[in-house]
């Protein structure tokens, strides 16, 4: 029997009531989403963390010793039982060169705490580095990373190199946080990153840390209690194993140090000795050199003397020779003169003889010439006479010719003139009148003949003139000229003849005188020849004497030359010897000088070195004396330096767990309540249908099935959506909230069957069970009863009516509302609880957000006013103190206050973590409130420092459950347990603080008060400046460390951010819940009372009156629900404040106005919107249909 129609009816019921179906589904979706989401997000986070830790084989315990781990330490650790592997490594904090960014350089591990390589690879060469993946944006693979290592107090460095090539980007399994990695001694005091290099890049005798893994911890959940318990056991074992090590190590270190000091002292002494030896040697060398120089000078002198003497002798010889040579030369000259004279005499004689011969020849010639000249003169006299005759003849010819010509010419002229006169006569006659024609013709013919005669005569004259007269005249002129020339020539010849005549006469007289002179000359020549012969004889005698002198001179000259040569040779050899000696000396001098220079150059450095060595030795001796017992600390993953991320991550996951225990239960309770009511109403509505089915013979279970199937379908649909979203959406939202602060891989989404089953069970419980129960209750009646309408809920007086004064003052409509409100008690409670639930969740959400939101502002704006604590090293030199004071008084710093600063610890909290407490003891209490304002949170009254007891921060007091007046114990920096009475509990939100007066400190710690740090307030308080100033302090050797406020803020920030986002999700969920609840309740209210509403509509109520008739109740109940919600929300908030905050954080428990305002506003808006929806629905309701039907 398939009962198709029955199933059809069921599906139709769903289709017809989509609003109800969806609201049940929605309620279940919201409930299961919150439940599943919050329940799985924490485990998912931890699973992700555990997987990551397992993959990278992160150490369970990390042991760090103050002075490193030597072989005896290693032996002790090796002996610890249960270890699966122990690995040692190095680390060193450095800064990136030129920046304040600090990096922790780890040696590359082989198996424990390996790295997740994000890009590139791990280093394989000593010059390679794998850098924190957070720096991937700033550096590329292949870039060079230069770091600066600060030397430690003894001046030692542990890095062999400071330049590395980046070959990879990695994430650490130990340092999970990217915002807070803990403290460092480099940079600003806050660690900014890490990097991995090969162990061989470290130069250290001891390892710096030991990483240990334990066999029995490998397979258990690292966040579970089993792990924590076992780990504690192992840590205790390690502590026990290392118990004697501090003393041994100190003793050993001291011995070592003393040996080193002694050997260093010896080395220094040796160096000093060497220095003085060298100096002595140099001095001796100087002396030798000086002696050599003296000897050389003496030798030089002797040589010079010898040479001078020899030279003088030579010079004398030379002088004598010179005199001789002069004499010889004079003799020679005389000889030459004599010779010349002789030759001149002979020559003169010869000349005179020649002259005589010539004069005789001349005389003969002159005789001849005289004769010739006389002949010539006679000829010339004849020529002259002839010439004169010719000239006279020519003259006569010419004169006759001229006369002829002139006569002819005159004849012509006369003829012409006669002819012309005849012509003129004829013309004159012609011109006379009265002439007869014959006369005239006669006259004319006469004239014509005369004129022709004239013309012929003229022509003949012209021919005469040109042909005869003119050439004749020219010939005459030329002849005249020639004649003149011949005359002058003749005159010239006459003159020459006269001169020659005169000369001949002179020469004829001079000839006899010449004959006389020639006779005289002959006599003189004879005389001269005789004198010459005598002179020749004398000359030859003198020549012989001279030649003899010359010979002697030449011999002596040769002798002198030899002497000179000998001297030169001797001088040369002497000088050569001297030069050699000089050279030797010079080279020796140079050697000496070089030695001296070297010495001069090296000696100061060497002396300085020796001096600094001595200073160092003194310091070292002091240090050895001051060497404190080293502490060996075994850190868990949560506790190790840089492990704050691990702790914070765990905290975030635990916060979600804590929320998971409250929110979903509350949500489910409310959702279930509403679902229950809704299903009940559904059964009521289907009453007559059910009766009909029963009447038709269907079994009660068939009828019930409709409701259970409906409930099942709606709740399962919602639950599946919620489970799916809870498994994915919420963990992803949580991941998104914290991912910025961590380097962990993306959250792993796992399926959690138990939570899913729980969600399904709860859904069945809140949707199917009430359906079944309601249906069963209804069906208990027989079918006939079922077919009748259910009697309406009877009216009754309500309690309020008994308070007559109040009741009478209510308007009618308000009375109606009041009565109606109490008439449907189930719905009233449901509305109140539903709204209250939503409001409570909203209030909690907003309160948590408000309380964490203002936390750092209150703490660092109202309580802590200093910007940083600067801790100083002990045993500072005066130079270091001065340097520190200079920085502390620099312009950037507003004020400082000297304090004693110490990091205390106390084991407290749910994880039994060691809580770090910052102890601040001001030197004087004056103006201390300008640095730290200790005050009671509730009353805001200041808490002054007492002369005994300590003021502790509120969270610490809560954690250890201490009140004012109680005594608490804690461990000081040297692990010594101390006790102190609490004199006050101050408002403080982040970190644990203990603040005492100087006297109280001395009492509690049984020690003298010393300052070791400064509270610093900066003028410019920006984060950047705080970091810059922190870096400046860190750079000083006097500074041990800097604690910045941002360290605390950053640490909390991740948690706050994650919590904030989760709260936002919860607020949204609570808001949705509010919407669904109010929608559902309003719907039920309307449908249940549709008849009543139709009635008043028919009665003429306006639309808004109709709406308010029913909605006034909703508003009232919502109002009550909000108030109740405030109460519940406060309780929830307190619960969250108790379980959620991490150990070192206190959420501000004060509730703020806005936390109340927002939920109220939100619900008010939802109510108003739904009111509008209801109003629309009622407007369109068919009042007639409702009134007609019988139910």
């Amino acid at each position: 029997m398939t009962k198709h129609i029955l199933w059809k009816d069921i599906w139709q019921a769903i289709g017809k009531s989509k609003g109800r179906f969806l609201s049940i589904a929605g309620l279940m979706a919201i409930g299961s989403f919150a439940l599943v989401g919050l329940k799985v997000a924490g485990p998912d986070m931890r699973a992700t963390g555990a997987d990551y830790a397992n993959r990278l084989n992160v150490a369970d315990v990390t042991v760090i010793g103050d002075y490193g781990l030597d072989q005896s330490d290693q032996a002790k650790l090796k002996a610890v039982k249960g270890t699966s592997k122990v690995e040692y490594g190095y680390l060193k904090d450095v800064t990136i060169k030129g920046k304040t960014t600090s990096l922790r350089l780890f040696s590359k591990p082989s198996t424990i705490s390996t790295y997740d390589v994000k890009a590139g690879r791990m280093p394989t060469a000593v010059n390679e580095v794998a850098l924190d993946a957070e720096y991937q944006g700033q550096y590329k693979l292949g870039d060079t990373l230069r770091v600066t290592e600060k030397a430690d107090a003894t001046g030692a460095k542990v890095l062999r190199r400071t330049k590395f090539k980046i070959v990879g980007f990695v994430s650490s399994g130990e340092i999970l946080s990217s915002v807070n990695m803990g403290e460092t001694t480099a940079g600003t005091g806050e660690l900014n990153g890490y990097a991995v290099i090969l162990p061989s890049a470290f130069d250290s005798d001891v390892y710096m840390l030991a990483r240990m893994r334990f066999t029995d911890l490998k397979t258990v959940d690292p966040y579970g209690n089993t792990y924590k318990d076992r780990l504690q056991t192992h840590k205790t074992a390690i502590d026990k194993a290392l118990k004697t090590q501090p003393k041994n190590r100190l003793a050993q270190l001291q011995t070592e140090a003393e040996t080193t000091i002694a050997s260093n002292q010896a080395k220094l002494d040796a160096a000093a000795k060497k220095l003085s030896d060298t100096q002595a040697k140099l001095q001796a060398g100087r002396r030798q050199l000086d002696a050599g120089q003296a000897e050389l000078t003496a030798k030089q002198k002797a040589l010079t003397t010898q040479v001078t003497a020899a030279q003088k002798k030579l010079d004398d010889g030379a002088a004598q020779l010179k005199t001789a040579a002069a004499k010889l030369s004079a003799a020679k000259q005389q000889l030459a003169q004599a010779d010349t004279k002789l030759r001149a005499g002979a020559q003169e004689l010869a000349t005179k003889r020649d002259e005589l011969a010539k004069a005789e020849a001349k005389l003969a010639t002159a005789q001849k010439q005289l004769t010739a000249a006389a002949a010539q003169l006679k000829t010339a006299k004849q020529q002259l006479t002839t010439g004169q005759q010719t000239i006279a003849k020519t003259q006569a010819t010419l004169t006759s010719k001229k006369k002829q010509l002139t006569a002819a010419n005159t004849q012509y002229k006369t003829g012409l003139a006669q002819l012309q006169a005849a012509v003129a006569q004829l013309e004159k006659q012609l011109a006379q009148s009265g002439l007869s024609a014959t006369q005239q013709a006669q006259l004319t013919a006469q004239l014509k003949a005369t004129q022709a005669n004239l013309t012929a005569t003229q022509q003949a004259y012209a021919t005469f003139q040109s042909g005869t007269y003119d050439p004749g005249m020219a010939q005459i002129a030329a002849g005249t000229n020639q004649l003149a020339a011949a005359k002058s020539e003749l005159a010239q010849k006459q003159k020459q003849y006269d001169a020659s005549e005169a000369r001949y006469q002179t020469q004829r007289t001079a000839y006899p005188q010449g004959k006389a002179k020639a006779a005289t000359a002959q006599t003189q020549i004879t005389q001269g020849a005789k004198t010459l012969a005598a002179s020749q004889q004398l000359y030859e005698k003198n020549l012989a004497t001279y030649n003899a002198g010359l010979k002697e001179y030449q011999a002596k000259t040769a002798e002198l030359a030899q002497g000179k040569a000998t001297l030169a040779t001797q001088k040369q050899s002497g000088e050569a010897q001297l030069a050699a000696a000089k050279k030797t000396l010079a080279s020796k001098e140079q050697t000496y000088k070089k030695g001296a220079a070297d010495f001069a150059k090296q000696a100061p450095a060497a002396r300085a070195e020796i001096k600094s060595g001595e200073t160092k030795l003194v310091a070292a001796k002091k240090q050895v004396k001051q060497l404190a017992l080293p502490t060996y600390t075994a850190y868990s993953r949560r506790e190790m330096p840089g492990g704050i991320g691990y702790k914070t991550y765990t905290t975030v996951s635990e916060i979600i767990d804590a929320l998971a225990n409250v929110f979903p239960i509350f949500l489910y309770f409310v959702a279930a309540l509403v679902t229950f009511t809704t299903m009940g109403r559904f059964v009521d509505e289907e009453r007559i249908n059910a009766g009909t089915l029963r009447a038709l013979g269907y079994e009660p279970k068939d009828v019930t099935r409709k409701f259970t199937v409906y409930g099942f379908a709606a709740s399962m649909l919602g639950t599946l959506i919620g489970v799916a979203a809870g498994h994915t959406l919420l963990p992803l939202i949580v991941y998104n909230a914290y991912s910025d602060g961590f380097t962990l891989p993306r959250i792993t989404l796992a399926f959690h069957p138990w939570v899913t089953l729980a969600a399904i069970a709860l859904a069945l419980l809140s949707a199917v069970l009430p359906a079944y129960l309601s249906a069963k209750g209804e069906l208990a009646a027989n079918p006939a009863e079922l077919l009748l309408p259910k009697p309406p809920v009877a009216g009754s007086k309500i309690f309020l009516e008994r308070i007559t004064p109040v009741w009478n003052h209510l308007s009618f409509t308000h009375k109606v509302t009041a009565r109606n409100t109490f008439r449907y008690k189930k719905r009233m409670l449901m509305t109140i609880f539903g709204v209250a639930g939503a409001v409570a969740l909203l209030l909690t959400g907003y309160s948590v957000r408000a309380s964490i939101g203002g936390m750092s502002q209150t703490q660092f704006g109202g309580i802590i006013h200093y910007d940083m604590i600067v801790a100083k090293n002990s045993g500072l030199t005066s130079a270091e103190t001065r340097e520190f004071a200079k920085q502390a008084e620099s312009d950037a710093i507003k004020s400082t206050k000297a304090i004693h600063y110490e990091s205390l610890s106390k084991v407290a909290g749910k994880n039994n973590d060691s809580q770090a407490i910052t102890l601040i003891v001001p030197q004087t209490t004056a103006k201390f409130e300008q640095y730290v304002e200790t005050r009671n949170r509730k009353t805001q009254t200041a808490l002054p420092l007492q002369s005994s007891g300590a003021i502790i921060s509120e969270r610490l007091a809560n954690l250890v459950g201490a009140k004012v007046g109680d005594t608490i114990s804690f461990k000081d920096a040297s692990d010594v347990t101390r006790h102190v009475t609490i004199s006050g509990i101050t408002e403080m939100y982040m970190g644990h603080f203990m603040i005492m007066s100087r006297t109280a400190y001395e009492k509690a710690f049984a020690t003298d008060y010393t300052t070791n740090g400064e509270l610093v307030i900066l003028k410019n308080r920006s984060q950047a400046n705080v970091e810059a100033q922190a870096a400046k302090f860190m750079a000083l050797s006097a500074t041990a460390g800097v604690v910045q406020n941002t360290t605390l803020t950053n640490q909390i920030d991740t948690i706050v951010k994650s919590l904030n986002k989760i709260m936002l999700v919860l607020i949204i969920v609570a808001g949705l819940l509010g919407v669904v609840i109010l929608y559902n309740l309003t719907n039920i209210n309307v449908s249940e009372r549709i008849r009543e509403l139709s009635t008043i509509k028919v009665l003429g109520f306006f639309d808004n009156e109709v709406t308010m008739y029913i909605y006034r109740e909703t508003i009232l109940l919502t109002g009550i629900g909000i108030l109740v919600g405030f109460g519940i929300g406060d309780v929830l908030f307190r619960y969250i404040l108790a379980v959620v905050p991490p150990d070192e954080v206190m959420f501000n428990p004060a509730l703020v106005g806005t936390s109340f305002l927002w939920p109220t506003l939100l619900i008010a808006v939802i109510t108003a919107v739904l009111g509008w929806v209801v109003s629309r629905t009622l407007k369109n309701v068919d009042m007639l249909a409702a009134l007609k039907s019988v139910d």
């Binding site: 009697p791 009877a794 109606v816 009543e1092 028919v1098 009665l1099």
Partner: protein, 233 residues
């Protein structure tokens, strides 16, 4: 001109694909102070007329003039105001608000109009002096219907509309209720319209409008309406 004048009023319903004519060209007049009976079998369209007259529904065509006002063109709000001031309803199933006492149910109506009667006096008038503070569940059917009548008349409506007022009542109680309704016309001068399928009631009216198949089949006027005690069914 008559007090109520319905002219050619037609009402159509669209039921899926088919059109239903609930009133087909209905016309009649009722004078002020008359007790009119609209008589007809189930589905004859009498309730539709009543709803249109009461301002709970509007006709598709034709005019409905009440005291000179044509309500067939009224807006939803005007109709509500019309119901509020001019109309009193009595239903077959009383439709009292169960959570309110008898007096409060009357007040529910009297609160919203000016010049309403005193609710208590109204209840006394309908003979429920002793039941004033009782809840509907504590009242018999006749008493509940009397509360309903009290609620309808308390606001001094121009017209009192009664839809099968005796339909859920036994004979005696029905007669009592009818008596009260008749008295409203006779003694208080109200214009009363009673819709019924019970022909036995017809003689008590001044005017009887017979409905058949969505039309007015006949209008009869009784110059001497019968007394309640004289009718039987």
């Amino acid at each position: 001109m008559s007090y109520i004048d319905v002219k050619h009023s037609t009402k159509r319903y669209q039921m899926g694909e088919t059109e239903i004519l609930a009133n087909n060209d209905v016309s009649f007049q009722i004078e002020k102070g008359e007790l009119a009976i609209i008589l007809g079998a189930s589905g004859a369209g009498k309730s539709t007329i009543l709803n249109i007259l009461g301002g709970m529904d509007t006709n598709s065509s034709g005019d409905v003039i009440i005291d000179g006002q044509n309500i067939s063109h009224f807006s939803s709000r005007e109709l509500t105001a019309y119901r509020r001031t001019d109309i009193g309803f009595v239903f077959q199933f009383y439709n009292l608000v169960p959570n309110l006492t008898a007096k409060e149910n009357v007040e529910l109506a009297s609160e919203i109009v000016e010049g309403a009667q005193d609710p208590t006096q109204t209840l006394i008038d309908v003979g429920l002096a002793k039941r004033i503070d009782n809840f509907p569940a504590q009242l018999s059917g006749g008493e509940q219907q009397r509360v309903a009548i009290a609620r309808a008349v308390a606001k001094n409506p121009k017209i009192l509309l009664c839809d099968e007022p005796t339909g859920a009542l036994d004979y005696e109680t029905g007669k009592q209720v009818l008596q009260i309704i008749q008295d409203m016309a006779r003694k208080h001068g109200s214009t009363v319209i009673v819709v019924t399928h019970n022909a036995a009631i017809a003689p008590i009216g001044d005017r009887v409008i017979h409905m058949r198949d969505a039309k007015v089949s006949q209008i009869t006027q009784n110059t001497h309406p019968a007394a309640i005690e004289n009718i039987e069914w």
